[in-house]
């Protein structure tokens, strides 16, 4: 089978999310990549070095600079004449573009796969991960999004792909990028961090969140996450949210502080290797999934912990 992987990038470098998708694709067959962007030749050169990669299709056009689905989807549909499957990371961009491609190909997308069971059979989570379905498709072409935490990352060196330009990119003329507010942080990215410290509603306000959670995270070299309640209350921006409707993470160590453990939150972090919970309520549901629990008042415990590390 010939597969095409849509490469997530910022026109400067390949994003980590791509690497797990390459692994998933290699379980199906030959791996080709698509780098669609603007002024993104360097990304294609970098992508060609990913282990196991054959051809890298490079579509470099102003209309592709912000990954607008209206412009990217037709380009992929064109390339699918020569490919049997297209795979995307289950990131906000991947989830935005993939279904548009699927509908144009008249194919039912398989969302958020956890494993490849065969050329047409996959497992995927449903009901916020409370059930795992094995699905088999009867479509001729496959459109798939891949859960990044479920596949190992392909090595970023060792590959010797060839870069080939693709033409045909065009502005569909129905949508325009206006602006982005992308948070810059010195900390690791949530979806690739080894350690995550997350705070919940119990932090009470933004000041407490910053003065208690962040110093602990920095001591551990950790990324910072949050529950929906903490995001809704404005303690931290939306991109911190972990859960069914936020980010799916699976770090080595996940530390949940003042988070009750609602199923929607657990959906985003229960595949973490070790879960540590700090909560003042010994009956909080988070303790049912935590490997290590500390019952106590976070306002006392957290500063003490940060101090002792």
């Amino acid at each position: 089978m010939k597969t095409l992987v849509w490469v997530e990038h910022d026109n400067a470098a390949v994003k980590d999310a791509t690497l797990a998708v390459v692994t998933a694709a290699s379980q199906l067959g030959e791996v080709h990549l698509l780098v669609a962007g603007s002024g993104c030749k360097a990304v294609a050169d970098q992508a060609a070095k990913i282990e196991g990669v054959g051809k890298v299709h490079l579509a470099d056009d102003a209309s592709l600079s912000h990954a607008l689905a209206e412009n990217v989807a037709p380009l992929i549909v064109g390339l699918m004449a020569d490919h049997d499957a297209v795979l995307f990371p289950a990131t906000s961009n991947g989830k935005n573009i993939a279904p548009r491609v699927a509908a144009l190909l008249d194919v039912m997308q398989i969302s958020d796969i956890l494993s490849v069971e065969g050329a047409d059979t996959f497992t995927r989570p449903i009901y916020a991960g409370n059930a795992i379905a094995t699905v088999r498709t009867s479509d001729k072409k496959l459109v798939i999004t891949v859960r990044g935490t479920a596949f190992a990352k392909a090595a970023t060196s060792g590959g010797s792909g060839t870069v080939e330009a693709v033409s045909g990119a065009a502005d569909a003329g129905v949508s325009k990028f206006v602006s982005a507010e992308i948070a810059k942080s010195e900390r690791p990215e949530l979806t690739s961090a080894k350690v995550i410290v997350s705070g919940g509603r119990a932090l009470q306000n933004s000041e407490n969140f910053h003065s208690l959670i962040e110093p602990l995270a920095d001591k551990l070299g950790a990324a910072v996450g949050a529950s929906r309640a903490a995001v809704d209350a404005g303690y931290v921006p939306n991109d911190y949210q972990v859960g069914q409707t936020g980010k799916i993470v699976a770090p080595e160590v996940y530390i949940a502080i003042g988070i009750s453990g609602a199923i929607q939150h657990l959906a985003g972090m229960k595949d973490s290797k070790t879960i540590i919970a700090i909560n003042k309520d010994e009956d909080a549901p988070i303790f049912q999934v935590a490997d290590i629990g500390l019952v106590g008042d976070l306002f006392k415990v957290v500063p003490e912990l940060t101090g002792k590390l």
Partner: protein, 250 residues
Amino acid sequence: MKVLVPVKRVLDYNVKPRVKADGTGVDLANVKMSMNPFDEIAIEEAVRLKEKGAATEVVVVTIGVAKAESDVLLTARAMGADRAILIATDDEVEPLGVAKLLKAVCDEEAPGLVILGKQAIDDDSNQTGQMLAALLGWPQGTFASKVEVSGDRVVVTREVDGGLETVDLKAPAIVTTDLRLNEPRYATLPNIMKAKSKPLAKKTPADYAVDIAPRLATLKVVEPAKRTAGVKVADVDELVGKLKALGVAK
């Protein structure tokens, strides 16, 4: 402009899903069903657009069991939708099939804006809105946390991985809602009573002559590996010891 809001009837988000012992799916017998939470947000947004004068009419549509008539479609009209369309079927319709039916509804109704939920909390596909946009050739503003309509421009602020992104779409357009777009109002009892007299059209998929045959077969549904509760530590010193043992603290 007319606003169309597709809504889905799902297992209530407070109910813990139970996988059936025979591995065929999740047990939906005798459990509470409600409107998908993202779709309540979609209706709220549509009704606010009408209250602001930016929308002229709010139409809701669901594809699913006939019972929706007396629960989610009633709730939708009580929240402020003007009329409802029920496309009744007991079969499972996949997002692609749902999108094809919705396209047929759009061809008839000619809405200026369709607002959907970004995902349904049962199947978590996160596909239907984008598929509908593709089939219609319309632009899409997915995962919206802010929507502004002026004339035929729809400016959508989207929740993306790194933060927020704003796009400018030319109507007719598709929007899918994220959680922070608004806080939906409750359907009050008097409004539920009044909603009963708002129009409801009953259709079946056959009325639209589109191919909705499923492409995916579910071979089995199982429970994920269970985590078990671990140990409780007595104090911070013991926790520090554990962190050191895990190799994350020096």
